[in-house]
Amino acid sequence: MHNHSQHCGAMRQLIVIWGLLLVLTGVTVGISRLDLGALNIWAALGIATGKASLVILFFMHLKEEGRAIGISLLVALATLATFIGLTFFDVLYR
């Protein structure tokens, strides 16, 4: 199915992703030392989401999976977001 060079390419790709993840870790630590007010938490969450996406897409091979798993993942995340979001209708306006 795959030839040897493709396999080496796969390993190289994983290592590049790892490098990116380390860089992003550095960036998120760096940004957290700046005072951006409310933006700090959103930047931290944004970068974390980016890192998680890299892990999920490449390390966990989501890119190679069929649509079912990708859609299910979105459903799961949307469910969690809904749970948090609707709870805030209470806590923000109490």
């Binding site: 459903v75 469910t79 809904t82 749970f83 609707l86 209708f89 209470d90 923000l92 306006y93 109490r94």
Partner: protein, 543 residues
């Protein structure tokens, strides 16, 4: 398929035939056959149901007169807690999906088993361990839990009764439920027979599919909620203690984020059962297949958005009350879609009123009453009036028992001949049904009325003006119990002496009726090639 039926003599006992290699009990409790696991669930669920019903009868007996009748307040608290825990976590959540779902899912989609047979067996074992733990909380050191099945913090963190053990038991039960859910989703995605497209899936399978998603995505929230209770009790983290800066309402949010979707775990599969039975006994294909299928998904989705309606008087923000009240009304739409489609299916049909159909039609009536009273509770203004009264208890039992319970009995009568290859006495079944319907309505309608008059729930005592209605309710509970006993006896007799039936006694069109009754161990000699829909009753008759 014809071949399998002709070999009926050989397969007379089908999967029920003992292997002869080990003690018969081991044949069952270590079996990875989905049919045997389904029956294991069925037997254990019915046993726990009997225990839960007995406790329910005791509760009603205590309430037959004001003041202390048979038990004091502490034991009364334990009784309604145990009744709730048993009925919710041991009966109605696993009821239809784990017992009937396990048995029928592979048969209805044309597969030999579920995707993960060993995981399936593990689910049952976890269920039994969880059940034993939850029930042994009754007898352990601190006394039976007295928190109600909702385990509200901070009280559940402070009471000296055996809450920890019960909570851990429920945690294990939740794990079992998640594993069943992921098993079913994978099975439905991966193991449909050739030609079994999504538009040919029986509606029971659609309802199981929607339920399985709720099980996978909502049950983990219950797990973490229970972990939080345990951490309060064991480590005293104080996360929900207002004195230490915590917010007790956050517990209620977490609890209902699971427990509201959970009522759809309890009621979606019953709706699927009814969607199977009504077309067969009205001799008409289901009206609006896609609407019924999609409404299952819609109920599962919308049902995850409405948990706040359990908290209208808790001190939650008014904005949230408004939002959750609105969303609650939205969830009524897909439920109503189902009811209207069932009624439209009946229209112009040649209806046979055998026992399964009687139970299924009763489901439609009782669930509609339960659903409409749910709207009274869902609109914030009226909710304030009847919150925490017996009206809520009555409404809940109309949906869960009138809905879930009666559909469970409908399923039992519909698939009994398939499970055991024998038929019960339909006359006795009808008598049992009639007795139950009378008892049920006496019991729970009186509860709703007495709730409207202001009788609070969860009190062992009440004001004298509520006596009359409470007596009617208690008498209703005896009639209901009598009906259920008659039903149980009828089915137990049939198990031994019922007449043998062929593969398809109801002339239904779904795949489970194409194999012998009881089905052979591997279900299908050859995997079926599906060429028609699940309610194509004419073509099923020809084949």
């Amino acid at each position: 398929m014809g071949k399998v039926i002709q070999m009926g003599e050989y397969f007379r006992r089908g999967f029920l035939e003992p292997s002869g290699k080990q003690p018969a009990l081991f044949d069952w409790i270590f079996s990875t056959d989905h049919k045997r696991i389904g029956l294991l669930y069925l037997y254990s669920i019915c046993t726990f149901f009997a225990v839960g019903a007995t406790i329910g009868l005791l509760i009603r007996l205590e309430l037959i007169a004001p003041g202390r009748t048979i038990v004091g307040p502490q034991i009364y608290n334990a009784l309604f807690t145990l009744h709730g825990v048993i009925m919710i976590f041991l009966f109605i959540i696993p009821g239809v999906p784990a017992a009937f779902g396990n048995f029928l899912l592979p048969l209805q989609i044309g597969a030999r088993d579920v995707a993960f047979p060993r995981l399936n067996l593990l689910s049952w074992w976890l269920y039994i361990f969880g059940a034993i733990m939850a029930l042994s909380a009754l007898f352990g050191g601190g006394g039976a839990p007295d928190t109600g099945w909702t385990f509200y913090l901070p009280f559940a963190g402070e009471t000296t009764t055996n809450v920890s053990l019960a909570v851990f038991g429920v945690f294990v039960l939740g794990f079992s439920s998640i594993l069943t859910g992921l098993n079913f989703i994978t099975t439905i995605h991966r193991m449909r027979a050739p030609g079994m497209t999504w538009s040919r899936l029986p509606l029971f399978i659609w309802s199981l599919y929607a339920t399985a998603w709720v099980q996978v995505l909502a049950t983990p929230i219950l797990a973490i909620t229970l972990v939080l209770i345990l951490s309060e009790r064991v480590l005293g983290l104080g996360l929900f203690d207002a004195a230490r800066g915590g917010d007790p309402l956050m517990y209620q949010h977490l609890f209902w984020i699971y427990s509201h979707p959970a009522v759809y775990i309890m009621v979606l599969p019953p709706m699927g059962v009814v969607s199977e039975i009504i077309p067969v006994f009205a001799r008409r294909p289901i009206f609006g297949y896609w609407f019924v299928a999609a409404s299952s998904i819609a109920i599962a989705a919308a049902g995850s958005l409405v948990w706040g309606h359990h908290m209208f008087v808790s001190g939650m923000s008014d904005t949230a009350v408004l939002v959750f009240s609105l969303l609650t009304f939205i969830v009524a739409i897909p439920s109503a879609v189902k009811v209207f489609n069932w009624v439209a299916t009946l229209y112009g049909g040649s209806i046979r009123l055998d026992a399964p159909m009687l139970f299924a039609l009763t489901f439609v009536l009782l669930f509609s009453i339960g659903g409409l009273t749910g709207l009274i509770l869902g609109s914030a203004a009226t909710n304030v009036h009847v919150h925490d009264t017996h009206f809520v208890v009555g409404h809940f039992h109309y949906t869960m028992f009138g809905g879930g319970g009666f559909a469970f009995f409908a399923a039992l009568h519909y698939w009994f001949p398939k499970f055991f290859g024998r038929m019960y006495n339909n006359r006795r079944a009808t008598w049992a049904w009639g007795t139950m319907v009378i008892g049920f309505n006496l019991l729970y309608f009186s509860m709703m009325v007495v709730g409207m008059h202001g009788m609070p729930r969860r009190y062992y005592d009440y004001l004298p003006q509520f006596t009359h209605l409470n007596q009617i309710a208690t008498i209703g509970s005896w009639i209901l119990a009598l009906g259920m006993a008659l039903m149980a006896v009828n089915l137990l007799i049939a198990l031994r002496r019922g007449q043998h039936v062929g593969a398809n006694p109801w002339e239904a069109a779904t795949l489970e009726w194409t194999v012998a009754s009881p089905p052979p161990p591997e279900n299908f000699e050859e995997l079926p090639q599906v060429s028609h829909g699940p309610y194509d009753l004419k073509r099923a008759g020809e084949a």
